[in-house]
């Protein structure tokens, strides 16, 4: 499907395409309530609570006032709804701001100031310097005579360098005034979210130019949310507007990630639900039997002989309602609340602020902090993640001569400096490639120094190094590059740029030397992408040696090559290239194919070696996390040797004899299979030995292994604690994550560049390093941190605490609900199994929503061990990883405790308040206060570190309970009028409370002490 955009045609496209109104809103004023309610009720838990609440409206079966469920339910719904509404309102405000921004647009041939939302497809939009682009535009004019303009795309892809955009050739040289009247048609694909591609054609209508089709690429567009820089003005035709822009299309709510803990809580909720159904059925049957045998004899309840048809259901349903509190209604809200607090703690953490840039860590996804504490595999990118991604040119090899080997810095190598000043032709050509073969833009600062704006750190390093060696790239004026070398100025005209893609692994430029008119092809790229294309007869052995030698040192290598082209050869190729560039289908592949035709018979000039230093603290971080039982996989696009060297230097793998590296390689299926089998065999044998075995696999073998030998490879993945995958593509990275996830491992992917985005989104937890390759990874990630070493703190401190806290919070929530529910069940046995509620509605509601939730919410500030201890003994993390704090058996412990406490409270209450004291309201308050006292002590016993907040919450809550109930007891119309005053005056009430606390907590404390001291759990 294509869309045809008629330039400057006000009428035709108005109906067809949407206007430029941006809307990120999820709701409108009218559909908010129904839509939000629908969303909330699509969750099972909410459906359950709604059912319970509806059943309670039937007064025949409801044991308590319906308000006791409706109140919390409405409260919880109101909380989530207002949060949504607030978010949506903020989105509305920011949309409005963007929509009402004033822009200059041509209307009926006259420039008019209109609001951004009124732009239509086909309108010509004028922008001034530093303006934000309101929609996706195809450039048709700029202030620059060459038709260039510069844009900053940080909001789009996070890259902070300036990008050059150029007007299409057809629009070249159109007069400023005529731009108002330009007419034509742009044939472009339907909107998509690919910000690297725009395969379209432009045809201008007469009188502007003949009916020639002019290809358009992404280079001819400026996209929404970019900023125009260093250009006085620019104008363009709106092609995609509103939510149909590239940015708008890529918006979307990522699928919510579910933590292992949430899954476990869901499972336990299901188990409790089943338990509840069983209890309800048993009690329902018992109740009906009791009714038919005993209650008929009890004249005082006056059971009618013939009941309605549903009579048999009444008692079971009553018990269903009584037991409905087993599933705590507040757990979802509490969990959401504490999870956002965990995220805030990460944001606030001073020790995770990048000191260089001052950027704090950030948790984008607030819902998965517990998973951090359960990570089993970390898949890490290399460049920019383990290393600083600050490239420094260190060594080079020019026509067989090694420079920089002695000093470790070629720029200080006297021999090279001599060769440069001597004008050795090989060296000069080498430097020319370094300076010219790139897409760097030099910017003159006010002080006169030249700054380079480069997309790739490697290019930046090369251009800077060339400048240090007196080959200075001074200025880029449209296609003319100005190079100063040893005092003389050389001009090159860039004819074509054969761009770098990760498939081609090389980039080339075709330039024309303006002095002598020679056309040359300059190439640089990975060794395997350059060396095979050397002209027949060139000895490439020294270069291979050089590449190996540099890789051994962990340096990044690039081969530089050049080739002189004949005029006609270039012209012929240029046509093909032009044609390939204007295809709409498979353009990238066609271009690659055409480029291939030119890039042959190269003369390899030499090899550059660029150092990328390790970040601070990387080896320590890896060692600590490894001790914590986390397995590391390194996935890099870099070559094998470099990867291994970096791996060695950052403790990733151990050198022989402690460690062993197994290689999986091969070009064919058979070779790969044999190699895989061999490695697997070795793995199986050595898995018992205390030896660090790691396997190395390259992209090609990985492709085959994943495709044909998934099973043995999966087995290998499970056996191996360490792996290095080199030369892998972004999609392979994501595949590996998928593989580990399918084996039920918790994976964390960490990376910094655009090529890591897929892996980051695929993994259970994605961590992005807000590094030099832009913010793309950090944006897609769940957590963004400044440095790799913060990962240690993120996992061991934040992840672990979050896990512990949620484990306590969720189980406690069930425990406290079960206590009160068991008491109700026990009470039903002494009230004729008729479904009487011991507690009144207000107490039940306040118990769940207020009395028991405040202390436990504060208990999430608890720290079981100090941060220092955990850092010192990272093995402690095993405990979280294995899920030892929240699993069916710990849950059974809490279940047992709730049963025990319910028995204690119930038995003591009914015996201490027997006979003449057995008044309903009093007895119910005694039981309730017994529960509240126990809760305070249970929370206190489970708290490991008391801050002032915890004391306030635990003991303050106990006091608040009495204050609230005394207030209720002072209201004459309330059911419990004077009850609490009467109780508080009785010595026997206080004696009963102490008895409940001692009898309930004594055995728990004894058991805890015994287990902690004499039966500690081995990790």
């Amino acid at each position: 499907m294509k869309r045809y955009v008629y330039i400057n045609d006000d009428e035709s496209s108005k109906e067809l395409y949407c206007d430029n109104r941006i809307s990120n809103r999820k709701y409108t004023l009218w559909n908010f309530l129904p839509k939000n309610l629908w969303e909330q009720f699509s969750r099972f838990m909410n459906q359950y609570f709604l059912l319970i609440a509806c059943l309670q409206l039937w007064s025949l079966i409801t044991p308590v006032n319906p308000a006791s469920t409706w109140g919390p339910l409405i409260f919880i719904f109101a909380v989530s709804a207002s949060k949504e509404a607030w978010d949506d309102y903020n989105r509305y405000l920011s949309d409005k701001k963007a929509n009402e921004k004033e822009v200059w647009v041509v209307r009926q041939g006259i420039k008019k100031h209109i609001q951004a939302q009124d732009i239509h497809v086909g309108n010509i939009v004028w922008l001034r310097e530093n303006d934000e682009v309101p929609c996706d535009l195809v450039l048709i004019g700029t202030s620059d005579p060459q038709g260039l303009c510069y844009v900053e795309t940080a909001a789009l892809d996070g890259e902070t360098d300036l990008k050059t955009r150029i007007i299409p050739s057809a629009c070249m040289g159109i007069d400023f005034e005529l731009l108002h009247k330009i007419k034509g048609v742009i044939e472009c694909p339907n909107p998509d979210k690919d910000i690297r591609r725009f395969d379209a054609n432009l045809r201008l209508f007469p009188p502007f130019i003949d009916n020639d089709v002019c290809p358009l690429t992404i280079k001819n567009t400026i996209l929404q949310s970019c900023y125009l820089r260093n250009t006085e003005w620019a104008c363009g035709v709106a092609v995609y507007t509103g939510n149909e822009t590239k940015l708008g299309m890529s918006r979307g709510i990522p699928e919510p990630k579910l933590t292992a803990m949430d899954a476990m809580i869901d499972k336990l909720t299901g188990a409790i639900f089943v338990f509840q159904i069983v209890v309800v059925m048993v009690l329902g049957i018992a109740g009906n039997v009791w009714k038919d045998t005993e209650a008929r004899k009890q004249w005082y309840v006056l059971y009618p002989d013939e009941g309605p048809w549903y009579e048999v259901l009444v008692i079971p349903l009553r018990f269903e309602l009584l037991c409905s509190i087993m599933i705590p209604i507040s757990i979802k809200v509490s969990l959401d609340l504490v999870k956002s607090l965990y995220a805030k703690f990460i944001d606030w953490d001073f020790e995770m602020i990048d000191q260089e840039t001052g950027i704090p860590s950030h948790a984008t996804n607030t819902a998965i902090s517990e998973d951090l504490g359960q990570v089993e595999y970390i898949l890490t990118d290399k460049t920019g993640t383990l290393t600083e991604n600050r490239m420094i040119f260190r060594r080079c090899c020019i026509s067989g001569i090694f420079y920089g080997n002695e000093t470790g810095d070629a720029l200080k190598d006297v021999e090279l400096l001599d060769a440069v000043s001597g004008g050795s032709p090989d060296v000069v050509r080498f430097l020319t490639v370094m300076a010219v073969c790139n897409t760097v833009i030099p910017v003159k600062s006010k002080t006169g120094a030249i700054l380079y704006k480069a997309q790739s750190q490697d290019e930046d390093a090369l251009v800077n190094a060339a400048a240090r060696l007196h080959m200075v790239f001074v200025n880029k004026n449209a296609n003319i590059l100005e190079i100063r070398f040893n005092g003389s100025v050389i001009h090159y005209e860039v004819l074509e740029t054969l761009e770098f893609t990760s498939d081609r692994k090389r980039m080339s430029v075709v330039v024309k030397n303006c002095q002598n008119g020679k056309i040359i092809l300059l190439s640089k790229g990975a060794d395997e992408a350059i060396l095979p294309h050397a002209y027949a007869g060139q000895q490439t052995r020294t270069f291979i040696e050089a590449v190996d030698q540099y890789a051994q040192l962990g340096l990044r290598t690039l081969c530089l090559a050049w080739c002189e082209l004949k005029e006609d050869e270039y012209q012929e190729w240029s046509l093909m290239f032009k044609e390939a560039s204007s295809t709409l289908v498979d353009r990238e592949w066609r271009i690659a194919e055409v480029c291939q035709r030119l890039e042959h018979d190269l003369e390899v000039l030499g090899v550059t070696a660029i150092e990328d230093r390790l970040q601070d603290g990387v080896p320590e971080t890896i060692e600590t996390l490894r001790k914590a039982g986390i397995n590391f996989w390194m996935l890099t696009g870099d070559k094998q040797n470099t990867a291994i060297q970096i791996a060695l230097s950052c403790n990733f793998i151990s050198p022989e004899p402690k460690g062993q590296l197994l290689l999986i390689d091969g070009k064919t299926e058979d070779e790969v299979f044999r190699s895989l089998e061999r490695v697997l065999l070795t793995m199986r044998i050595t898995s018992s030995e205390p030896k660090d075995v790691a396997f190395v696999v390259d992209g090609w073998a990985l492709e085959i292994a994943l495709k044909h030998y998934r099973k043995p490879f999966t087995e290998l993945a499970i056996l191996s604690r360490t792996a290095i995958c080199c030369r892998v593509t972004p999609s392979q990275k994501a595949q590996l994550v998928e593989l580990l996830k399918s084996c039920d491992y918790r994976t964390l992917a960490i990376g910094d560049g655009g090529n890591d985005v897929r892996m980051i989104q695929q993994a259970d937890i994605g961590v992005g390093i807000s590094g030099r390759e832009g913010l793309q990874a950090a944006r897609a990630a769940d957590y963004s941190i400044g440095k790799f070493r913060f990962l240690k703190r993120l996992i061991l401190v934040h992840g672990r605490y979050s896990y512990n806290r949620t484990a306590f919070l969720s189980q406690y929530s069930f425990y406290k609900s079960l206590v009160i529910c068991f008491i109700q069940i026990f009470f039903s046995f002494i009230s004729g199994v008729s479904g009487t509620s011991l507690f009144n509605s207000v107490s039940l509601m306040a118990y769940n929503v207020f009395y028991t939730s405040v202390p436990v919410l504060v208990s999430v500030l608890d720290k079981d061990l100090s941060e220092g201890t955990v850092m010192q003994h990272p093995q402690i993390l095993f405990y979280c990883q294995a899920g030892r704090l929240l699993n069916p058996s710990t849950f059974a412990g809490w279940f047992g405790r709730s049963l025990f406490h319910a028995i204690v409270v119930f038995l003591i209450t009914i015996h201490a308040y027997a006979y003449e004291k057995s008044e309903m309201e009093e007895l119910s308050m005694v039981a309730l206060s017994g529960c509240i006292w126990l809760q305070a002590f249970v929370v206190a016993l489970e708290t490991n570190c008391f801050t002032i907040i915890q004391h306030l919450a635990i003991w303050g809550n106990l006091v608040a309970f009495y204050v609230i109930n005394l207030i209720f007891s002072a209201i004459p119309s309330s059911g419990m009028y004077t009850i609490m005053f009467r109780l508080c005056r009785q010595p026997s009430y206080w004696i009963t409370m102490f008895l409940i606390v001692a009898a309930g907590m004594g055995p728990v404390l004894a058991l805890k002490y015994f287990r902690y001291t004499y039966r500690p759990i081995t990790i």
């Binding site: 902070t160 009890q298 913010l775 009487t836 500030l861």
Partner: protein, 353 residues
């Protein structure tokens, strides 16, 4: 290449005016001990000393308290006399007997005072296996109607005793609870001298003042075909019908005592008290029991050994824990905080399993 940005991207860029980095820097969090999770805290550890001391102290406090409670309970003098069986021992069909209107149901019992009973001596009637807490029963009342004359018609909650048959006039007080009002009466005498029973102020003042209206008079009460329990004098307002008020404070347990009245003179040891019981109330059809209780009181309430025994048991248990832990500590000492106990320090490989 796909990008993943959410809606906020555009807006943040728009607000920051392109200065994405500057905007980020200003986000630098403020330092506080709370945000850094470094609030001063005390971290109690369950050390042997702490645990043993706690248990010892609890034991030492609880056992004497138990003894005090027990002695308080022992000082209470209580006479319990079950009369439902004895009073009907001559009749084969007890249910028919109790339901018949014509039979004379008076019954005489003799109680012997075991110890001096200082005034006031409380008279209770005790019902066993009477489910005043049955859901059908406990819900069958209308608090509004009891409190307020105007709310006479608020009888919807009172089913099945809401309206009188056949004229559908509202019953005041309506509901099962009021309908089943206990109607046995007791007359006490010692050596043919009548003992005065004070039936004033047996109900809670708060109930008399706020729950039962002083202008609400019984109406259509016990007029239907089926008579439940006692009748009420229609000329006395509900706030003064203290037997009703007491009865309507429903009991939470199936065995309960309710205050009948007070004897405001001392009862001497070995005195014989003659009680003339009007045995009207039907507990026979459901196998319940009726007892007459005379009891003094103490600071802990009536006679109830439970608290004392429970305190001694819990105190003993705590002492037992303390002794066990001391023994364990002596026999098998276990230093705290010794890293050699850490499992990864024990296993040579450095890894678990």
């Amino acid at each position: 290449m796909e990008i993943s940005t959410n809606g906020a991207t555009t807006s943040s860029a728009a607000v920051g005016g392109g200065g994405g980095l500057e905007a980020k820097k200003s986000k630098k969090p403020k330092y506080s001990r709370f945000t850094q999770q470094e609030l001063p805290a005390c971290k109690p550890i369950v050390t042997p000393g702490l645990v043993i001391t706690t248990f010892t102290i609890i034991g030492i406090i609880f056992i004497p308290m138990g003894l005090v409670s027990l002695s308080a309970s022992e000082h209470v003098v209580e006479i319990v006399d079950r009369y439902d069986e004895v009073c009907t021992s001559n009749f084969h069909n007890k249910v028919a007997y109790i339901q018949s209107v014509s039979t004379n149901k008076s019954c005489t019992r003799t109680l012997i005072v075991p110890k001096l009973m200082k005034s006031p001596v409380f008279i209770y009637y005790q019902l066993d296996s009477f489910y005043q807490n049955h859901r059908r029963y406990v819900k069958s009342r209308s608090d509004k109607q009891l409190r307020n004359k105007a709310a006479e018609n608020e009888t919807t909650t009172c089913d099945p005793v809401a309206r009188s048959q056949p004229d559908r006039a509202p019953i005041v007080p309506c509901g099962l609870i009021a309908w089943t009002l206990f109607n046995d009466t007791y007359g006490f005498s010692v050596k043919d001298k009548k003992i005065e029973v004070n039936k004033k102020n047996i109900a809670w003042d708060s109930d008399k003042g706020h729950k039962f209206g002083s202008n609400v008079y019984p109406k259509n009460f016990q007029t239907g075909g089926l008579i439940g329990g006692a009748k009420l004098d229609p000329s006395i307002p509900l706030s003064e019908q203290e037997d009703l008020i007491v009865w309507m404070r429903t009991a939470a347990l199936p065995n309960f005592r309710k205050l009948y009245g007070r004897i405001e003179e001392d009862l001497q040891p070995n005195e014989e008290i003659t009680v003339v019981i009007q045995n009207n109330y039907n507990t026979y059809s459901f196998g319940g029991r009726k007892e007459l209780v005379l009891s003094t009181t103490s600071w802990i309430g009536g006679k109830n050994d439970f608290l004392g025994i429970a305190y001694i048991t819990v105190g003993g248990l705590c002492l037992f824990f303390a002794v066990t832990f001391i023994l364990l500590y002596v026999i098998k000492p276990r230093p705290l905080g010794d890293p050699s106990y850490l499992s990864w320090n024990k296993s040579p490989s450095g890894h678990p399993n």
